[in-house]
Amino acid sequence: MTLIDLPVEMPDCTYTTAGRSVVSGVRACATVISDVAGTMHANAAPAGIEGEPAEVAQHAMTETAGQVDAAAAAMITGLTALDAYCDRMDELKSTWHDLENMKGALDISVTSLRSRQNSSEPVDATLDTDIRAHNSKVATYDTDVSTWTSDVTAAENRVIAALGRADTVLEAEGLVGSVPDVPTLLQELDELGKDPFAINTWWLALSAAEREALKVSDPSIIGNTDGIPIQDRDDANRAHLSALLNTLAQMKDDGETLSEDQQELYDQAQSVYDGLDQAKDEYDLNGDPIPAYLMLYDPYAADGDGYGAIAFGNPETADHVSVNVPGFGNKLTGIDGLAGSAFDVRETAERHGNGTVASIAWMGYDAPEFDSSVNGVVDGLGVAGEYKAEAGARNLESFVDGLRATRQGEDPHMTVIGHSYGSTTVGKAAGQDGTLDVDDIVLVGSPGAGEENPHASDLRGNVYVGSAGDDFVSRLGSTGDVSLGTDPASAGFGGTRFEVDTPGDFAFDDWDTNLDIHTSYFDRDSSSLANVGMVVANDGGDVDEVDHRQAPNSVWYAQEAAEDGWRATEAGYEAVEDGVKDWFKNRFGLG
């Protein structure tokens, strides 16, 4: 009788993803230390200074510069090792789960075979064959467990050795000379210009220690450079965010009153955290946690309005990638709202079952900054014109090029979604004067895709348009006066117009409702969001099409004025500011 082999017991795996918190904490602290080192060096005695040696030796900032250099060296050493260890252990933990499942199956097999061996039934003709097959699987499993154990031990030994080299101040002083030469690396990066493909190749050729040193010393450069892989950007930006927020929180704890600018930074940081938290405890259709990446974090950009981008799902590996581009009045303090829209787009698209989806909330340009009012929006059109959309288009092109440069495998199905003035930015990037080339383009609540793009065929990508009938911003598109190009919902433009909900009726004396209508395209369970999700999932052919607008928008405004009656029209007209009154008067003969 052939003996039934028993699988070896599974070793424990006490590593958990919580270990990553150690890495992010050390990285955030290292970022602070690096900042302090920069300040101390800037105020230290210059190297080779001629003077009293004793005076230099006792100079506190010179001395402190040396101390923080040692601390920074120790943290970069530990950080590099811990990050590599966590990467390796994430893989090995996955293998461990596979082995655990295998062990469970083999235990069941043992029970079943023993039962057959002990059976009083007539001879079991296939039993020996089945036992040999089982034993072969056990042998493979045992080997895999042994290999796994060796791999874990090797990973542990590496990180333990590295931490051991950096866990005393004296040892750290000896590490200072081995820290990567950050200024030289930054010079190399600078010489690559803005070519995300060249930057990606350069980055991948760096050592792990060089990457960590760069992320710690210059997180705002590394985190915001297109072409650097998303995980590294996220590491750098989160370290920057955490260091900044903790410093501001510390000031508050110390009883200081934050200045207006500092309070703005604080509010921005909170909004970014709220945006990232959209993915907290959320899972995709496969039951895996939805990752959130901070792809862009520059709170000082756009005169302090700030830039930011949050991705839900991994755009380097997803089958479908979408980018949400916001419009009027968007600032980093409001990125949580934009992130919510991107999160919902991802979820809606994923339900189509066409593959994995990553959706990005991208606030990477200086959107016209106006308050949420009709005065703000219309003033915005008059003041900003297409200038800010043009500048934004260049940033968007670079960002999307960066997504392609860091892509692992084939290009994804790519959709760019522009809302309001953001649709003009998208149009300028994908149109005649731009270089953006994507599969699909969605323009919602659009006042125009740019003067130079009067037809959907001027844009690279299939063009889908969502314009609520009573969205007054989408009624601004025209071929003349203050507008941002042809109305994309018009028959002449030629895009595919899809169904959207209209949560209210336009009224000259109810601008709150008017603005609600303009900002409802990503409402959960709305027709608009469902159609956007179809496009993102590469099911654009299935959108609920509706007819194009036939009459000029000036006719619509005249009809609305007539419907409201003069009293309401006059009341609405009086509610707006002088500049806007002039605009209405010139545009539609009102007032």
Binding site: T16, G19, V36, A60, A74, E156, I160
Partner: protein
């Protein structure tokens, strides 16, 4: 005895600088403290070693933050307590200033205005203390 005159605006700038560094270091300390609460997740062998590593750097960052705050506080205290110094005090004070601000402590030659900016800072004592 040589008498020195102090440029208070430079001292205040240095005080702010040290104070900012102290705040940053305390913020960094907080993140390291958070990190040290998660070392168990690194596993049975690595967790304790990471704990030792973090303990060293928590201590060092605390020490750096305390030293920076002490220097800021010391400068503040100094600013309001004295404007004339003896040789040793001048040397001590120079040690806490940025290297480029060493000239803030100068030998007194005739009448020198210790408040060269529009903002004169704290009023000097009516009877300057001469240590």
């Amino acid at each position: 005895m040589t008498t020195f005159v102090l440029m208070l605006s430079e001292v205040r700038r240095a005080s702010d600088l040290w104070d900012d560094q102290a705040e940053q270091l305390r913020a960094g300390h907080k993140r390291l403290t958070d990190a040290s609460g998660s070392t168990e997740g690194l596993g049975d062998r690595v967790g304790p070693k990471a704990g030792t590593y973090l303990t060293t750097w928590l201590s060092e960052v605390t020490s750096l933050a305390t030293a920076a705050q002490d220097r800021a506080d010391g400068l503040d205290q100094f600013t309001v307590s004295t404007v004339e110094l003896d040789e040793q005090s001048a040397a001590d004070l120079r040690a806490s200033l940025p290297w480029t601000s060493q000239d803030a402590v100068v030998e007194r030659i005739g009448d020198t205005n210790p408040f060269p900016t529009d903002d004169p800072g704290p009023a000097p004592p009516t009877s300057p203390a001469v240590p």
